[in-house]
């Protein structure tokens, strides 16, 4: 029941925020903040109840009996980590929009909360129809966020985002239906239940095609080369809060889908496909790091680094051993915070000086020292400094991947070096060098306010915590991951034997 409340609260809060605009234009943001805070508190009550490998809370009710579809939500350690991240970044996003969004604020917070509701649904749904339902539900409000409050080229970016994710989503829908149909043929009843569908058996050729449907949908969201091109556009045009949600949470739904659905449902095909997926991951890491270095637009740069970092997640997932998976999950969490923070900084800069062009910037250290320190912290986090969360994630992912594929791991490890190059280059370009106020309007250039420091501080604490004491996060996801690993062990062995 608690899971329904989590989602329903966000939906209801969204409607309430929209309606409250008539009363007072400042009311929507307070209502939105209160809603997400309440949601976070409810989620925290789930912590510590039950073993992390088990379902901590679940709910199942018949929904569309004609197709055996049920309203089935459940949370285990992995889901819990991710919905906590969702609520946390939701609060951060509301904070970043607090002053920035003044026009039509009611509708903005409505969309923000509905996106969050869709994401929480994605992380908790265990009926594949319901999963797909939430998967699509989170797109429309995100479309509106980009299309209404975005920047100069928002129509193009919003449209591209929507079409990429929706079309690949339909491929996944076909795969889900094939899966359900095979279950119907083999078991005699319609079902979209995750646990039922785990037992479906295929011929290897069919399994590969069906798996690809899932993989393409998740790889688009992740995103991975060669279907990543929507992301830089979406990010550079979205308002800051939109970027935070997009980079911090929405990308993680793709990774979550790979871990929860794509590999466990089709273990044999996934193992067979793993070398290709890992190659794509290595290409994403290196290619996008290189492309990031070539950007002038600071938001596009951060967007490309996101693709590069998410490559480590793909790499870890398809290495499919405990360390690599732990690394992938850790990277998801740490990147969620660091990318969100960097987008907030870029958004904050744009809000102050109305440009995202890095060649125009320079010498900001003297003008906005607090902002410079914060930016340095998160850049260093993103490049994988030991002691911060990203390092743990990427290190574990590489460690695990090394056992699966030595050469790709070696190549991917160069991504860490490239990351240092572009991260420090940004700092150099923006905060050091010559200050030249003729290229932009610096009348609003002010340092971070107290409220902003609060948000960045919270995210810093999160990253340090992840870096210094990762065990508290690893413990939560360990049960889930080892359960998934043991369930797919047979298939992994079989594929390994064929390969030898």
């Amino acid at each position: 029941m608690i899971l329904v409340i989590l989602i329903a609260l966000l939906f209801a809060g969204g409607v309430l925020a929209w309606m409250s605009e008539r009363v007072n234009p400042n009311l929507p943001r307070s209502i939105a903040l209160a809603t997400v805070l309440l949601d976070l508190l409810i989620m925290l009550t789930l912590l510590g109840s039950g073993d992390s490998g088990q379902w901590i809370a679940s709910l199942e009710a018949s929904w569309i009996p004609r197709f055996g579809i049920s309203f089935y939500l459940a949370v285990d350690g992995l889901s819990l980590l991710l919905i906590l991240l969702t609520a946390f970044l939701g609060i951060i996003a509301i904070g970043s929009a607090w002053d920035e969004i003044t026009e039509r604020a009611g509708f903005f917070y409505f969309n923000l909360l509905w996106t969050l509701a869709g994401v929480v649904g994605v992380f908790t749904a265990l009926d594949l129809f319901l999963f797909f339902f939430f998967w699509e539900v989170m797109l429309i409000p995100m479309y509106f966020i980009i299309a209404i409050w975005g920047h100069e080229n928002k129509n193009y970016a919003a449209m591209k985002f929507f079409i990429f994710t929706q079309v690949t989503g339909m491929l996944m829908l076909v795969s889900i239906l094939v899966l359900a149909y095979f279950h119907y043929v083999q078991a005699g009843v319609f079902s979209f239940n995750y646990h039922d569908l785990l037992n479906v058996s295929f011929t290897s050729r069919v399994e590969m095609w069906v798996m690809l449907g899932f993989f393409i949908a998740f790889a688009t969201k992740l995103p991975s080369v060669p279907i990543h091109s929507w992301l830089p556009d979406a990010h550079s045009q979205a308002p800051t809060a939109g970027s935070v949600i997009l980079a911090g949470i929405l990308l993680k739904t793709g990774a979550y889908g790979l871990i929860r659905f794509a590999v466990p449902l089709f273990p044999a095909a996934s193992m067979e496909f793993a070398p290709i997926a890992m190659t794509l991951a290595a290409i994403s890491i290196l290619y996008c790091a290189k492309v990031a270095f070539a950007q002038h637009d600071i938001k596009r740069l951060i967007a490309y680094t996101s693709v590069s970092h998410m490559g480590f997640v793909t790499l870890g997932v398809y290495a499919w051993n405990e360390q690599a998976l732990q690394g992938a999950v850790m990277t998801m969490l740490a990147h969620g915070l660091s990318a969100a923070a960097l987008f907030m900084l870029a958004g904050g800069l744009q809000h102050r000086i109305h440009t995202r062009s890095m060649p125009d910037m320079g010498g900001f250290w003297a003008k906005v020292p607090r902002m410079a320190i914060v930016a340095l912290f998160f850049s260093v986090a993103a490049l994988g400094m030991p002691g911060l969360g990203n390092f743990i994630g990427e290190f574990l992912a590489l460690l695990g991947a090394f056992q699966a594929n030595i050469w790709l791991t070696v190549v991917s490890a160069f991504g860490l070096i490239f990351a240092s190059v572009y991260s420090l280059w940004v700092i150099q370009k923006v905060f050091q060098g010559e200050y030249n106020s003729s290229k932009f309007d610096d009348s609003h250039l002010s340092d971070l306010s107290r409220r902003e420091m609060l948000y960045f501080g919270a995210m810093m604490i999160g990253l340090v915590w992840m870096g210094m004491y990762p065990q508290s996060f690893l413990d939560l996801s360990a049960g889930t991951l080892s359960g998934l690993l043991s369930a797919t062990a047979d298939a992994a062995v079989a594929v390994a034997e064929v390969a030898q």
Binding site: P65, R66, L139, I140, V167, M170, L177, Y181
Partner: protein, 490 residues
Amino acid sequence: MTMTLSDLLPLMPLLLVTGTAVLAMIVVGIQRHYTLTVVVTITGLLIATIVAAMMMSFTNQQVTPLLVIDQYSLFFTVITCASAMFIAILSYPYLQNLQDQREEYYLLLGVATIGAVVMVSSNHFVSTILGLETLSMSLYGMVAYPVHVKDSAKFPLEASVKYLVLSAAASGFMLFGMALVYAQTGTLAFSSVVELVNGETAGLGAGFSIVALLMIIAGMAFKLSLAPFHMWTPDVYEGSPIPATTYLATIGKAGMFVVLLRFIEASDALEFEGVVLVLSLLAAASILAGNLLALLQENIKRILAYSSIAHMGYVLIAIIASFYVEGSISIEAVTFYLLAYMIMSLGAFGVASVISSSESERDHIDDYTGLFWRSPWLALVFTGMLLSLAGIPLTVGFIGKFYLFFAGVEAALWVLLAALIIGSGIGLYYYLRIVYRMVLKADDATTLTSDGAASLSAYGVLAVLFVLLLILGVYPAPVMNLIEVISATI
């Protein structure tokens, strides 16, 4: 053959609709009173809807060889009468300021509905043609209705003549095909043409049957505006007054589709590979042509016209699937999708109708700029309808598309499914284009809504459709069960 009272009882909805048209005519004859005529029409259609809905649970019989009144036909009778009622309500404010006689429009609407009810109940070529021509004849009138009005911005006469000429040609094709089938089977009732070919009574041979079937399908494809028989659709849609367009796009399509479904099922036409191939080509061509051509349009009516071409292509996939799939799932898919299509199209055209009137049609895409901030509720409804047409969850269109995908997957129609995915992807672009226009900042602050009292009922219709759209999108189980039951009888 004699008619008894027990034969008349199942015909109640049809008789009620007929009675409505007659009564409206008498009322107009006594005194021309616009509102009274509308009220009579709406009330009559409402009663027919309710009666048909009540009869669904216990009526299942063939009334004369011409009409079959089973649950399936009653289901579509309900939909037809309800839609006709909605259109009548939407027409009321639209035609209010027409500088001409306005009452006869509702007679035409009533008579057209008689034709549509006959069509959904028909399993005989004679009743098909009777229903079809009754419907079409009235539609010619409805399309050309504002022809005497000087300020009428559009070209109703051109639309009407275009529709008349092409429609007559299509009817000719269909009649020729029917004659050929008759030559084969010796009956005008829908019946299998296959056994005659394989068994001893060879008739005139399989090739002959295929030609006959293809001629009928070509005629029907014209009425359904499936590519490549779709050329008339955008022009006629654009030239007609919006309520007439709505009628054409909803009831005209659904009625014909029910006939096509019954005919395909009864004639076993899909036993012939050639027919399957032709239908598949029609479906793929409609999906691609409809969606691609819609990209180029600047006129809402033309966009919706092309999108309706695509949607008819989508439904055709389920009809083709019915041959490969055991059980009735693909017939359920057709039924549910048609229901969904009716709701979305009525809603989308309804919004256009509410902000337009017979003097000024607001059907250019620029007319909708900033609608979200000028008339939020109207824009919300329109957005819902467009997203539903695009097949996004929370709306009935998603469940409909889910049904189609399911039927397609079970039948393993991979090529057509690929067309469906590509088509839907393209479709997103032009639906979102309209949505994007609506959320843009408005250039001028003028509200588009017409005067309150008259359009209040039209807002009511839109609200009902919007609620239906959401309820069926979130909790479709009851309607699905109903459709499962009624589809088993086909």
